[in-house]
Symmetry: C2
Subunit: 141 residues, 2 copies
DNA sequence: AGACGTGTTGACTTTAACGTAAAAAGGCGG
DNA sequence: CCGCCTTTTTACGTTAAAGTCAACACGTCT
């Protein structure tokens, strides 16, 4: 079990550049310890990086991701702070649910396009008889 | 039933600026017709705009969105083109499914954080007895 | 005709998220 | 000790996606 990761190990694992990791550090998203000048990433840092990349895949900005990560480590004690935290959680959850709906809609549409394409493929293979005019433009509210 | 939308109608409906719509037009994402110089958006243009915004919410770039929209309108006839189209559809679907998984993971984590916060709230309300050391840092592979 | 609101075009600026290049500092094998 | 490699720091460049600003073109209300 390896205690620390070097920067290049992580860049290879996640297919990113050193520039990216240093940039994330400059933005306060990770804070690797140092041996002299050299950065040493703990397994904890590594999971934070995974969280960052996941956030990016979902289209969140680095600032938003930073907020979310800070939620994770937060143990603010005070009641007002907790209320605020709960609000932020609710907001994020709403965004995520919207994204879920967006994805499902998009998947359905992709299915439609694929079905149409496959139908045309079939026609081409069996020899073009007569072009069927089934063109679903899908114009809803 | 209104035949056309003006640019400001759409900016108000979707909460974007005129600059944005003109930019999308410059990128070839929409092509409103003109009455003189003025842009007139059809219901079809309007749905395209909805598609664009949905794509943005999912973190796709305008170029990616353009590709996807072009898939929709595509009836390329030729077999090679259709193969290529099917490949692209498969690729997009894979991305979307990954995003789905990412979202589900994130939702679970949000649930965790929320549960922790609510627990601390409860302690604060009933009067702090003794701080329970149940701190789930969640360090998985 | 004058003023007003709305729309258009063009140019310049901004912001996020890195890329790229230069120079110096360790560490390490021969 | 020397050369080589990785890492670091600093600084400037780039790209996508708009924002901002200025000036001009319409239709129209009065």
């Amino acid at each position: 079990m390896q205690r620390y990761f070097t920067i290049t190990q992580l860049t290879q694992e996640f297919d990113i550049t050193t520039r990216t990791l240093r940039f994330y550090e400059a933005q306060g998203l990770v804070s690797p310890t140092r041996r002299g000048r050299q950065r040493l990433y703990t397994p904890g840092d590594r999971t934070r990086i995974k969280l960052i990349l996941r956030g990016k895949r979902l289209g969140f900005s680095l600032n938003e991701i930073k907020e979310m990560i800070e939620m994770y480590g937060s143990a603010p004690g005070e009641a007002g702070q907790l209320r605020l935290l709960l609000d932020r959680i609710a907001a994020r959850r709403a965004e995520l649910l919207e994204k879920q709906r967006d994805i499902e809609l998009t998947l359905v549409e992709l299915d439609d396009v694929e079905a149409g394409a496959k139908a045309r493929m079939a026609v081409l293979e069996t020899g073009p008889g007569k072009t069927s005019g089934a063109d679903a433009a899908s114009e809803k509210s």
